[in-house]
C-alpha cells in the first residue's frame, strides 16, 4: 500500500510559510469582518430591496422602490447636502487645526505634555457628555461663547438654535475633537528625519520653507490617512445630532445618518433605512476611491 505523504511546513517555501502565518494571525479579525461587518452589509443590501418594517415574516421584494422613494423625498436631498457641508467643514478645518496643534505641540518648550493631554482630553470623554457640555456652550442666553462675544461688544448668534448657524456650530465643535488626529500627526512629525531639516537649512530654507518642502511632503501619507478616517468618521457622526439638534431647526442639521435613524426607529421603515445605509456606503466608497486617486498627485511615499 502506498503511503500518503505527510504535510510538513518545511515543505513550503519561506514565502508560503510567512503567508500562512499571516493568515493564521488575521483569521480572528477576518472571521469578525465576514460575520459582523461584511455579512450584515450584504444582508442590508438585500433588505433594501424589500418592504421590511419590523417583522421578517411578511417581507416582500419591491425592487428599487425604496431608492425611488428616497430620490423623490426632498428631505433626503437636504440631508445629503447637509452631510457634505458638515463633512467638508469638519475635514478641512479639523485637519488644518489638528496639524497646527501637532506642529505647536512638537516644539521643545516647557509644559508640552500638559497641553498634549488637554487637547486630547475631549477625545477620551463620552460623546454624549461632550455634546451636553456643548449645548450649554452654545446656549444663546447663558452660554460662554455669547458671553465672551458680548464682552467685546458683539451680539452672538443663536448657534445650534438657528438654521443658518447650526452647521457652522457643529463644525466649530468638531475642532475641539481633533485629539486623535493630532496625536497621529504628532507621531508623523516626530518620525521625520532631522537630517532633512538640517539639509534644508544648509540650502537656506526658513521655517516656512522647511514646513512646505520637508514637513508637508514627509507628512503627506499620514495626512492622507487622517483625511480618509476623518471623512468616514464625519459621515458617521450621530451622537451630536441625536443629543444636540435632532436634525433641526427645521431640517437644517438633518444629515444622512440622522435621516437613516429617523426612518428606521421613528417611522419603522427599515427597508428604506437599509437603502439609506447602502447609499451612504456607496458615497463613502466613492469618496475614498476619489481620495486615493487624487492622493497619487500629492502623497509622497518614501521609497
Amino acid at each position: 500500500m502506498e503511503s500518503v505523504p505527510r504535510f510538513s511546513l518545511r515543505s513550503l517555501s519561506q514565502r508560503s510559510r510567512e503567508e500562512l502565518v499571516f493568515y493564521i494571525f488575521i483569521l480572528p479579525w477576518l472571521i469578525g469582518l465576514v460575520l459582523f461587518t461584511a455579512g450584515p452589509t450584504l444582508g442590508m443590501l438585500g433588505l433594501s430591496f424589500t418592504d421590511w418594517r419590523i417583522s421578517f415574516d411578511d417581507l416582500n421584494f419591491i425592487g428599487l422602490d425604496n431608492y425611488a422613494k428616497l430620490a423623490a423625498d426632498p428631505i433626503f436631498w437636504t440631508s445629503i447636502g447637509n452631510t457634505f457641508y458638515i463633512v467638508a467643514g469638519r475635514v478641512v478645518f479639523g485637519t488644518a487645526f489638528a496639524l497646527l496643534l501637532a506642529v505647536l505641540l512638537n516644539q521643545k518648550v516647557p509644559g508640552i505634555p500638559f497641553f498634549r493631554a488637554v487637547y486630547y482630553l475631549p477625545s477620551v470623554t463620552a460623546g454624549v457628555a461632550v455634546a451636553l457640555v456643548w449645548i450649554w456652550i452654545f446656549n444663546p442666553r447663558l452660554g460662554i461663547l455669547n458671553y465672551g462675544l458680548k464682552l467685546i461688544g458683539i451680539q452672538g448668534p443663536q448657534w445650534i438654535y438657528s438654521s443658518q448657524w447650526v452647521k457652522p456650530s457643529l463644525i466649530l465643535m468638531g475642532l475641539f475633537q481633533v485629539g486623535p488626529n493630532m496625536i497621529i500627526l504628532l507621531a508623523g512629525l516626530q518620525g521625520i528625519p532631522k537630517e532633512l531639516y538640517e539639509a534644508a537649512e544648509i540650502d537656506g530654507a526658513g521655517n516656512w520653507g522647511k514646513f512646505r518642502n520637508v514637513t508637508l511632503p514627509m507628512l503627506s501619507p499620514v495626512l492622507f490617512f487622517v483625511i480618509i478616517i476623518s471623512v468616514v468618521g464625519s459621515f458617521q457622526n450621530f451622537t451630536e445630532i441625536r443629543v444636540m439638534t435632532e436634525g433641526g431647526p427645521g431640517e437644517s442639521s438633518n444629515v444622512l445618518i440622522w435621516y437613516l435613524w429617523e426612518n428606521a426607529f421613528i417611522f419603522l421603515q427599515l427597508g428604506v433605512a437599509a437603502a439609506v445605509a447602502w447609499i451612504m456606503f456607496v458615497i463613502l466608497m466613492a469618496l475614498t476611491g476619489l481620495q486615493f486617486r487624487l492622493g497619487r498627485r500629492w502623497v509622497f511615499y518614501e521609497v
Binding site: P140, P249, G250
Partner: protein, 437 residues
C-alpha cells in the same frame, strides 16, 4: 365616545369612598392565584426614571408575594430611548412580555405586531372593568375598534401660574372666567424685560395633547377627527397661531425657542422666570421638585366665544407577541391597572393622574398635586380631548412635521402662514401615503 360617564357629583361621591388607605390595604384581598407549580418569569420593558423605580419595586414585591409563582424581571430604558429600543427588540425577536406603550405608538406598534390584540381578554374580564377607565384614555389604544393596550395615566394640559409673581404685581390669580384675552393682558402686565421675566413661558406644542391649548380656544385643530387630513389651514387655527405668534415674537411677552433653551426641558415657568405656563398632570412632580415659588393651576382660558378646550394624553402597557405566557402577563396587568393598583402606583405617589376617575381623588391628596388640582379633573370631565396624531399609521411622520414646524415658529424662523402651508402639504402627503394600508 362618552367622556362623561359619571357626573361630577357622582364622581366625587365615588371618589370619596376611595381613600388612600384602600390602595395599600386593597392589595391584600386581591385574588391570590398562587399555585404550587414552577415559577414563571415575567419580563418588562419600562422607562421609569431612577426616582420612581423604588415605587415600582415595592409594587412588584407585593405582587410576587401575592403570586409566588411569578417572578418579575424588568429592563429599564430611558424615556428618550424607549420608543427606539422597542422596535429594535421586535426586529430581533427579543421583546419582553409586557412593554410600556406611549399613546402615540399604539397604532403603529399594533400594526407592526409589536403589541397583541387583547380586546377579548380585557372585555371578558368583568372584574377588571375597562368601562371604569376614561374612554378618552382607552381610545388611544383602540386600533380598528379593538383594544391593543391599556392606559395607566391620562391627563390634560391646563394653565399653571406663579402665585408669587401675581402677588408681587398685586394682580388677581387666573380665574374660571378667564378668556385668552385676559391671559394675554396678564402676560403683558407681568413681563419685565429688565428683570428677565416673561409673562408666560411661550410654549407652543402642536403635538399630542399640546395643540389643544391654543388652537382649541379658537375652534381650530391640527387634524380632523379620524386623522385622515390636516385641518390646520382653517381661519380659526390661523387666528390662534397668530395670537401666539404676536405674543411671543412681536410683544415679546413669552420666551422664544432659543431663549427657552436656557432652561432644563425648556421650562422657564418651572424655573421662576415666567409667570404662567402650560402644565400637565404628569409634569407636576418635576414642578414640585424644582419650583422654588408658590404655584397653582387654573382652567385653560376660553376663546372669545366662550369655547374652552385643551388637549390630553397618556401612556399605557401592552403585551407582546413574543410572550409565551400572555395569560400570566394579563394576571399582572389586571391588578396593576386596577383601581387599587393605579392608586398605589400613580395617585398616592403623584407620578401622574391615573386613567381611572376613581383614582383621581387620591391623586389630589398627593404631594405633587397643586392646591387647585381639581381643575385637572374638571378639564378631564368637561373639555379635554385626546390630542392627535395617534390613530394614523403616519402618526410618527405627522408628529415629526408638527414638531419641526412648531420649533421653527418658536425660533421665529417660520411665519404662521409658512408653517401652516408646510404642515398641510407635508402632513397630507404623509397621510395619503398610508391611506391604503
Amino acid at each position: 365616545m362618552n367622556k362623561q360617564q359619571l357626573s361630577r357629583r357622582a364622581f366625587l361621591k365615588l371618589a370619596a369612598a376611595s381613600s388612600s388607605g384602600i390602595a395599600l390595604a386593597g392589595m391584600g384581598p386581591l385574588r391570590n392565584i398562587a399555585a404550587a407549580q414552577d415559577t414563571v418569569e415575567l419580563t418588562f420593558g419600562r422607562h421609569w426614571e431612577a426616582a420612581f423605580r423604588p415605587r415600582q419595586a415595592e409594587y412588584d414585591e407585593g405582587f410576587m408575594e401575592r403570586h409566588p409563582d411569578i417572578k418579575i424581571n424588568i429592563t429599564y430604558n430611558t424615556w428618550a430611548d424607549h420608543n427606539n429600543v422597542v422596535p429594535a427588540w421586535a426586529a430581533a425577536g427579543t421583546l419582553p412580555d409586557i412593554i410600556y406603550v406611549h399613546g402615540s405608538r399604539a397604532t403603529p406598534w399594533a400594526h407592526e405586531g409589536i403589541i397583541i390584540d387583547i380586546h377579548d381578554i380585557v372585555v371578558a374580564d368583568e372584574e377588571f372593568n375597562v368601562e371604569g377607565m376614561w374612554e378618552e384614555s382607552v381610545r388611544l389604544y383602540r386600533v380598528n375598534g379593538r383594544i391593543h393596550a391599556l392606559p395607566y395615566d391620562h391627563g390634560p394640559i391646563i394653565l399653571g401660574y406663579n402665585k408669587d409673581m401675581f402677588d408681587a404685581a398685586g394682580m388677581d390669580y387666573p380665574g374660571e372666567d378667564w378668556t385668552m384675552e385676559d391671559f394675554a393682558e396678564a402676560a403683558r402686565a407681568l413681563t419685565n424685560p429688565d428683570a428677565g421675566v416673561w409673562g408666560w413661558d411661550g410654549r407652543l406644542d402642536l403635538g399630542n395633547g399640546g395643540s389643544g391649548f391654543f388652537l382649541g380656544a379658537w375652534g381650530g385643530a391640527t387634524m380632523n377627527d379620524d386623522e385622515s387630513a390636516m385641518i390646520i389651514d382653517t381661519p380659526e387655527a390661523k387666528e390662534a397661531l397668530d395670537f401666539w405668534y404676536n405674543l411671543t415674537h412681536n410683544e415679546n411677552v413669552g420666551a422664544s425657542g432659543a431663549e427657552m433653551e436656557a432652561f432644563p426641558n425648556q421650562q422657564p415657568f418651572r424655573f421662576g422666570v415666567a409667570a404662567m405656563g402650560h402644565i400637565a398632570t404628569w409634569s407636576t412632580p418635576s414642578m414640585r421638585a424644582q419650583a422654588n415659588f408658590e404655584w397653582d393651576v387654573a382652567p385653560t382660558p376660553m376663546g372669545a366665544d366662550g369655547t374652552r378646550k385643551t388637549g390630553a394624553f397618556g401612556s399605557g402597557y401592552g403585551i407582546t407577541p413574543t410572550s409565551d405566557k400572555p395569560d400570566v402577563a394579563w394576571r399582572y396587568l389586571r391588578e396593576y391597572l386596577s383601581v387599587d393598583g393605579m392608586i398605589f402606583m400613580w395617585s398616592l405617589s403623584g407620578r401622574g393622574s391615573p386613567a381611572r376617575p376613581e383614582g383621581l381623588e387620591a391623586w389630589l391628596t398627593s404631594d405633587p398635586a397643586p392646591p387647585s388640582g381639581h381643575y385637572f379633573l374638571e378639564a378631564m370631565f368637561d373639555y379635554a380631548v385626546t390630542g392627535p396624531p395617534f390613530q394614523s399609521l403616519a402618526a410618527a411622520q405627522v408628529s415629526q412635521i408638527l414638531s419641526r414646524e412648531a420649533n421653527l415658529l418658536r425660533l421665529g424662523e417660520a411665519s404662521v402662514e409658512e408653517a401652516i402651508a408646510t404642515i398641510t402639504e407635508e402632513g397630507n402627503a404623509a397621510l395619503d401615503a398610508v391611506a391604503d394600508m
